[in-house]
Amino acid sequence: MSTMNVKFAGLGGTGVVKASDVFAELVFELGYDVKKAEVHGMSQRGGSVASDVRYGEKVESPMIPDGEAQFLVVFAEDQIPVNEAALKVGGTLLSPKDIDVSKLPSEKALNVAMLGKLSTFFDFPLEKWEKILQKLFAPKFHEGNSIAFKIGREG
């Protein structure tokens, strides 16, 4: 298979890196070669953050070349222009507009809801998603995450 590229983007403190960690860990456990890149740094202070996940038989560069992302998942609409160049022609853009944000148990759960939305484009087993979410989040978040993930899938 050729390399699959999924870019996550948003503002610092909104769980961009966490979401990409979940997705990367998922495809790792499914047996793919995986690379994930992001620049940390000042992101905590509300600046733009983006994280690239690439998987396939063999992945070389950890960074998605412009125009090669099959998916761009943004957590804030104003981050679309900043990251659009990554998207492949005919690629899929997902933003909070694609889900029913008003139903979320908390604003913090948006990243998991976006993962729920993303999950509808892959035929990875749902138990696997659930398992990784439980592995990477503290127990107190598990219930809210399950709800958010479902809302994302339904949106």
Binding site: E38, V39, H40, G41, M42, S61, P62, M63, V82
Partner: protein
């Protein structure tokens, strides 16, 4: 809690996590350093997975501690970001002469593209100038493996070794397979050997000669057995590369033959000659300075470098490598600017700089979260160069400016930065007093915030947040001859802070103001660490 299970055999790890795990598997006895993006997580993770790590006041002290440990036949690590090596370079340039008896690895992280650094300097220049062997991993697996190789090399040749990282390799995640090859713990002990460790000219002149001889030997070893790889495919195009650039190259030019250099100092000269003879067009692809290019050109080999100076700046990526290979001179696409970072809502630095704006100060600044105050809307800092510089630069201005202007100069420095290299500035202030006096403000938010909330000697807690002696800034100042010392909370006592600064500016005296209010983002953790420490102390009573 570590973010991975250190007992697993195969994991998705960042380069920094892979280094920490390898340090554990190499039985590193002491690991020290000073925080700096992108290197900071190495020691934190090492401590979390059970290794012994400590923060030093600055990189120089850290390097000296690690060197002393290696003189005592231990295995030691020192970590820092690229600019940290400027501070510690005085140690490195003579530690290569003395060599080590245990082993010592310097993990130095460069930041091509300046994701969070004040410059884009290239550590490879230091390695060459200090005559220090250097490894350059391309991914997390190599970072894991090269830590072990670096120790083996350090022990075999009796010399410190640099592991040169870059932001992408530190922070990208890729798969790591744990090795069965573990290094037995060394047994620290002391053997007197004055001639090899006291670097007076009589002993260091022969040491310099020994060092050059070691390098000859290492270069031959590197060509024959070093962590380099010649991958022959089409011979029309041959590419010499190292670090993360290797992966960009493989993706951009999958048909090209590649010489991947894993140990870049001393260069594997014979291997490079062999590769050059096999291919038609020969190109070097590297980030930062044209370092490999110059080294290979100096061998008399005809090689292309980054033909266009624009590629000297910023990180490389797959598309940029394609452009370099195609000699594409058209302007690069300009990326859309994202939202810049700003001081957090509720950050105590906001008030401190609001005071300085109200009083129309000339602000000699320093590095930390508070440097963000230089940007609009505050625009309240006039200069920032390197850690600790706030005090010295402020004094320089005070000495030369006309009185009216000199009276407006204030030096502003963070608490971690003050410990790092502000103390000597304070000593200078007491020693060479400007006639108009001077005012220094320590922004004491009780943490090293900028780099992700690390402890330091002024927080009263060690790297693992257990209790430690807490440095008293005011007492240091008094001992250095600073007559006025005040502490004030810039958030809760804004007016008092303003009055204090105003008064201090009017006097021709020396004043230190400690603006004390915790980092809002770290507050919850600080309270939890202190509570845990109090409870533990209670239990022991």
């Amino acid at each position: 809690m570590p973010s991975f299970d250190p007992s697993a055999k195969k994991m998705l790890l960042s380069g920094n996590e892979a280094i920490s795990l390898s340090m554990l598997h190499c039985n590193v006895q002491i690991a020290t350093g000073y925080p700096g993006t992108p290197s900071s997580e190495i020691l934190e993770t090492y401590s979390e997975i059970g290794g012994y790590a400590q923060w030093a006041p600055n990189e120089k002290v850290a390097a000296e501690v690690a060197l002393g440990a290696a003189f005592g036949h231990a295995r030691s690590v020192v970590t820092m970001k690229h600019v940290g090596l400027n501070v510690a370079s005085d140690v490195l340039y003579t530690a290569t002469y003395s060599g080590v008896q245990g082993s010592m690895v310097w993990i130095v992280a460069d930041d091509p593209g300046q994701a969070s650094s004040q410059n884009e300097q290239d550590t490879r220049n230091h390695a060459k100038a200090a005559v220090c062997p250097m490894f350059e991993p391309s991914n997390s697996q190599e970072a894991y493996d090269m830590v072990r190789l670096a120790f083996q090399t350090s022990e075999r040749f009796g010399i410190p070794v640099i592991l040169r990282m870059t932001t992408r390799v530190d922070h990208s995640k890729s798969i790591v397979q744990v090795s069965d090859e573990k290094l037995e713990a060394l047994k620290p002990h002391f053997v007197r050997d004055i001639a090899s460790r006291v670097m007076v000219p009589g002993y260091s002149k022969p040491a310099a000669k020994r060092l050059r001889a070691k390098m000859e030997e290492m270069a031959a070893w590197n060509s024959a057995e070093g962590p380099n790889r010649m991958e022959m495919r089409s011979t029309d195009l041959g590419i010499i590369t190292s670090g993360i650039s290797y992966h960009h190259v493989r993706e951009a030019a999958p048909e090209a033959s590649v010489l991947k250099i894993g140990m870049s100092y001393p260069l594997p000269v014979n291997l490079i000659r062999e590769f050059a003879a096999k291919v038609g067009r020969l190109v070097v692809i590297e980030e930062n300075d044209p370092w490999l290019f110059e080294g290979i050109s100096a061998l008399g080999i005809k090689v292309e470098g980054k033909y266009d100076p624009i590629y000297r700046f910023g990180e490389l990526d797959v598309n940029r490598v394609r452009r370099i290979l195609a000699k594409d001179q058209s302007p690069e696409p300009v990326p859309v600017k994202g939202r810049p970072p700003a001081l957090c809502q509720g950050c105590p630095h906001r008030e401190s700089f609001a005071v300085l704006n109200e009083l129309n100060c000339i602000v000699s600044g320093d590095i930390g979260c508070y440097t963000l105050a230089a940007l609009p809307p505050l625009s309240a800092m006039d200069m920032m160069i390197d850690m600790g510089a706030a005090i010295g630069m402020g004094l320089g201005l005070r000495h030369v400016l006309p009185r009216e202007e000199a009276k407006r100069v204030v030096s502003v420095i963070g608490d971690s930065t003050f410990i790092h290299s502000g103390i000597t500035g304070l000593v200078e202030m007491g020693y060479n007093r400007p006639s108009t006096g001077h005012v220094v403000i320590i922004l004491d938010n009780s943490i090293t915030a900028m780099t992700g909330q690390q402890e330091h000697p002024g927080t009263g807690r060690k790297l693992d947040h257990s209790p430690a002696y807490k440095v008293n800034y005011g007492e240091i100042a008094k001992a250095a001859g600073i007559e006025n010392v005040f502490e004030v909370n810039p958030v809760k006592e804004y007016d008092k802070m303003k009055a204090l600064v105003k008064e201090a500016l009017e006097k021709d005296e020396l004043t230190l103001i400690i603006a004390k209010s915790p980092c809002i983002l770290a507050l919850k953790s600080i309270l939890a660490w202190d509570k845990a420490n109090r409870e533990k102390a209670g239990d022991q009573k």
